[in-house]
């Protein structure tokens, strides 16, 4: 397996393009900037409790931003990864060397993941230096988990974008596919889930309880929603985190709470949702590889 050589070359290429430094600067501003408000507003400087509270608040606010920003950047970094090489002819140079097409796709996924993960890590590190002083160990571990989950979200979307790129013939096709995917996951998925579930209730005689279970099921399949609700689990119960998916401007949806009952069904627990998120990486990469292995170049 020679994907490591491909990944190293790809990463080298990105470092030379200065993309990675621009992204790092962007993430430092985006993550550490709000954290700095802590000092200007003078909150949470007094004691450990306050410092911990401010960390949770930071995570709650920041996750809304990362859930949009990270997928966009991962898509920009990944969508043309294979098609651009195909269109320019560098792919011929690459495949003249003893790399299988699968290795090329894996190497790209790895290289571009590093291009996205490294700036996220740098951004979080700087934000951490601002936030963590005086915070409790619990707050620190929550913050680290938030950073790791955000890296996972970035890598998932890199996998999706590279997978789409591998299955596309042109940059344009790959871009349409990736942008479509972004709009679907970030804008339409939640609404579509509610519509489908209520239509089932209205026309197919599904009970209200089942309607909410279906809706939750549809919602958590969305990788962006999965990311958000897993982050909520860092500072609330899994049950509350899932109910949070139904909230409307911070007002909990009482029908949803009632429908989910006293105990959260196993399929909606954190490990299952984390597994779903991982599938969003594995399946597109696998499909992209399979298509790419079969085409004439």
């Amino acid at each position: 397996m020679s994907y490591r050589a491909v990944a190293r070359k790809d990463f080298q290429d990105a470092v030379r393009s200065r993309w990675i430094w621009v992204l790092s600067a962007l993430f430092i501003v985006a993550f550490a900037g709000p954290a700095l408000l802590r000092f200007t507003l003078g909150i949470g400087l007094g004691d450990t409790n306050e410092a911990t509270g401010i960390t949770v608040l930071f995570i709650q606010i920041m996750k809304e931003g990362t859930a949009i920003l990270v997928p966009i950047i991962a898509i920009v970094v990944g969508y043309a990864s294979i098609t651009r090489e195909r269109e320019s002819g560098t792919l011929k140079l690459l495949l003249s060397l003893p790399h299988s097409r699968g290795d090329v796709v894996l190497g790209k996924v790895l290289g571009r993941s590093a291009v996205v993960a490294l700036p996220i890590a740098i951004g979080f590190l700087v934000a951490g230096l601002v936030l963590i002083p005086a915070a409790s160990l619990e707050a620190v571990s929550r913050f680290v988990a938030f950073a790791l989950l955000t890296v996972v979200l970035g890598v998932v979307f890199v996998g999706l974008a590279v997978g789409i790129s591998a299955a596309s013939e042109t940059d344009r096709q790959a871009m349409v596919g990736s942008v479509g995917l972004f709009l679907l996951t970030s804008l339409f998925w939640g609404t579509a889930s509610s519509r489908i579930a209520s239509a089932l209730n209205e026309y197919a005689g599904v009970s209200v309880q089942q309607q909410y279970l279906v809706e939750l099921g549809l919602k958590v399949v969305n990788p962006v929603a999965a990311y958000k609700t897993l982050i909520d689990s860092l500072y609330m119960t899994q049950f509350d985190a899932r109910v949070g998916l139904f909230q409307f401007f911070l007002i909990p949806n009482q029908d949803a709470i009632a429908a989910l009952g006293n105990e959260l069904p196993v399929v909606f627990t954190d490990p299952v949702i984390a597994a779903l998120l991982v599938l969003w990486f594995v399946v597109p990469v696998y499909v992209g590889m399979t298509v790419f292995e079969r085409v004439d170049l």
Partner: protein, 304 residues
Amino acid sequence: MTAIELSGVTKRFGELTAVNDLDLTVEEGDVFGFLGPNGAGKSTTINVLLDFVRPTSGTVRVLGHDAQADSVAVREQTGVLPEGFDVYDRLTGKQHVTFAIESKGAYEDPDAILERVGLAGDGDRKAGGYSKGMRQRLALGMALVGDPDLLILDEPSSGLDPAGAKEMREIVREEAEDGTTVFFSSHVLGQVEAVCDRVGILRDGRLVAEDSIDGLREAVGSDETLIVTVDAATEDDLEAVRAIDGVASAETDGGTVRVSCDSGVKTDVIGALEEAGVTVQDFTTQEASLEDLFIAYTEGEVAE
């Protein structure tokens, strides 16, 4: 052992048949020139060898491996200079060669490779700033990494100046002396004639001739072209020349007469022209170039 073996290979792109039932064998150690006009199917054939495209039917074996199922094994032992490639603009020449070394699991000095292909001193520059010829040299350098058993060069001299093309030929010769099999395509015939010991001519996706260069000359039936400078000659005057046994063809533009013939009948040709009332001012002979053969084969003048 056989280095390249294609049997019954057909490749269709939709309606277009790029390669049609091609059988081709290249023995180990051969320097094989793969000739044909643009669009004859040369690049498609090479792309099939490298598994860039999959044949519609037929089998392809390279260095004993199935070219489809074992493509990586093929490319581990093969150096490739592809056609229509590009370099990574942001990486330096040296990074390119280093990447090739890493990819092939070889242990070589990238600077030595760069020097060999005439890029010494340019290794630390970004390849995006290289000229077409330098890109071609860089790709050749990457192909030479790991001492390949087979070199596949698709139009290797495109973009090179005459000096560069000569260096390219020298490198090919050096590799061939080491026992490397060389397979290269070209429409620049002088290149092929200078280095190849065997030639295949492809036309409309079919192999129309495959032989040694000497054998090809023989197949065309004439090994010399007689060029006669005359005062004035007409088609009618040539009838007598064409009638001579040993003359393959004769043509004129009025001022010169070109005759393909056996070397033994030259005086007969001159005699026949003078007899027809043509004043012969001068004549020279020319050994048949591959170009003559090439034209003869690809225009269909020589029957299979």
